[in-house]
Amino acid sequence: MILWIENLGRIGLSFCQSVGVSGLFLSRTVFRKPRLIRLFPLVIEQIYAVGVLSMVIIVLSGLFIGMVLALQGYNILERFGAVEQLGQLVALSVVRELGPVIGGLLFAGRAGSSLTAEIGLMQVTEQLTSMEMMAVDPLWRVISPRFWAGVISMPVLIAIFCMVAMFGSYLVGVEWLGVDAGQFWSNMQASVNFRIDVVNGLIKGLVFGIVVTWIAVYQGYYAVPTAAGIGRATTKTVVYGSLAILGLDFILTSVMLGGW
């Protein structure tokens, strides 16, 4: 029993410690002397690696999720004779929840894991140390552009995801199943509010982007410098990132529904 409590305490302490270390790490990454002219091209390069290369998976999954939602929604709404509400159903579920959450999970799997592996490998092969020996701060040169690229890319990816999902549901609902296009769009427009639904969805995306990228660069930077260590760090990025997204989604949703 005592042992059990002791273990619990140790886990709690190490958790607090890692939160503290990663928080310090984040603040040291973000609050740098602004050398924007130098940072900008580096961020562009990383947006390519983090954002543009994630486009394919985001567009494809957005398309399929929109199509599936339309199909499922149509089947259920048909029982109530309310198929003209299909647009509203798909739009609200995609813009409010599915877009940010699924987009975030895909981002953690695609971009987060590759960020962790890349930084971890740079750590193992002493590239970060040698950079430090050349009097170039790796936090500034390596971590900071990747962090900003992730933060910028995520809302963009989620906006694209939502748009493609709407297009997919339009294809299935209107072109295939024959819902009236006018009703599809006008019901959607009547129920979706830009400020409450779209902006809040993108805020969720921004928060997920910050958290996932933070976890990814932290895990990479502090990866145990062995092959197994990098493997574990990559796994941790995906697991912690996904859990953080789902947990934060609940918190953010409750805050947003609570009249925010």
Binding site: V52, M55, A91, C162, M166, N193, D197
Partner: protein, 158 residues
């Protein structure tokens, strides 16, 4: 290793795609349209009960949308609801004795405001208040009234 210029172009296209997506979400999906203070004027109306009326609900004349609700508040002394709404600048010939009504789209649809123009020579202008209004019809009140009436009828017949 890709050409630097190529990467920059791709990133630019990526950001552009994001902005386009945002516009699509704003205008196609959420039907955002700008009733900015420039192209419209602000009128308010005082209601006994506004039911389920929400900010951004449509304001119509004869079923045609001419504006939207911009703010909802309550008067602290009279305990009546004050609803402010913006009306399109083109509709500047509304008589001052126009009345406002809160209606429901369909049986369970959303509430909206219908303006019924009067016959006054003077026109409504920015900042005017409409006092002659008809409150929202609350389904529960209607049902309870009906039950009361039916009960009363029965008593009388007894």
């Amino acid at each position: 290793m890709l050409n630097k210029r190529f990467i920059e172009i791709l990133v630019g296209m990526f950001m552009l795609a994001g902005i386009i997506a945002l516009f699509v979400l704003a205008f196609k999906v959420s039907g955002l349209n700008m009733y900015s203070s420039k192209g419209s004027y602000h009128v308010s109306a005082i209601f006994d009960n506004i039911g389920d009326l929400k900010v951004r609900a449509p304001v119509t004349i004869a079923g045609v949308r001419v504006g939207e609700v911009s703010d909802i508040g309550i008067n602290a002394t009279t305990f009546k609801a004050t609803v402010g709404f913006r009306v399109d600048k083109n509709q500047d010939k509304l008589p001052a004795d126009t009345t406002a009504k809160i209606l429901t789209a369909g049986i369970i649809g959303a509430n909206y405001i219908e303006l019924i123009p009067g016959y006054d020579e003077v026109n409504l202008k920015d900042g005017d208040v409409i006092i002659d209004t008809q409150p929202a019809i609350i389904l529960e009140n209607l049902i309870s009234q009906m039950i009361y009436k039916i009960g009363g009828d029965k008593k009388e017949s007894n």
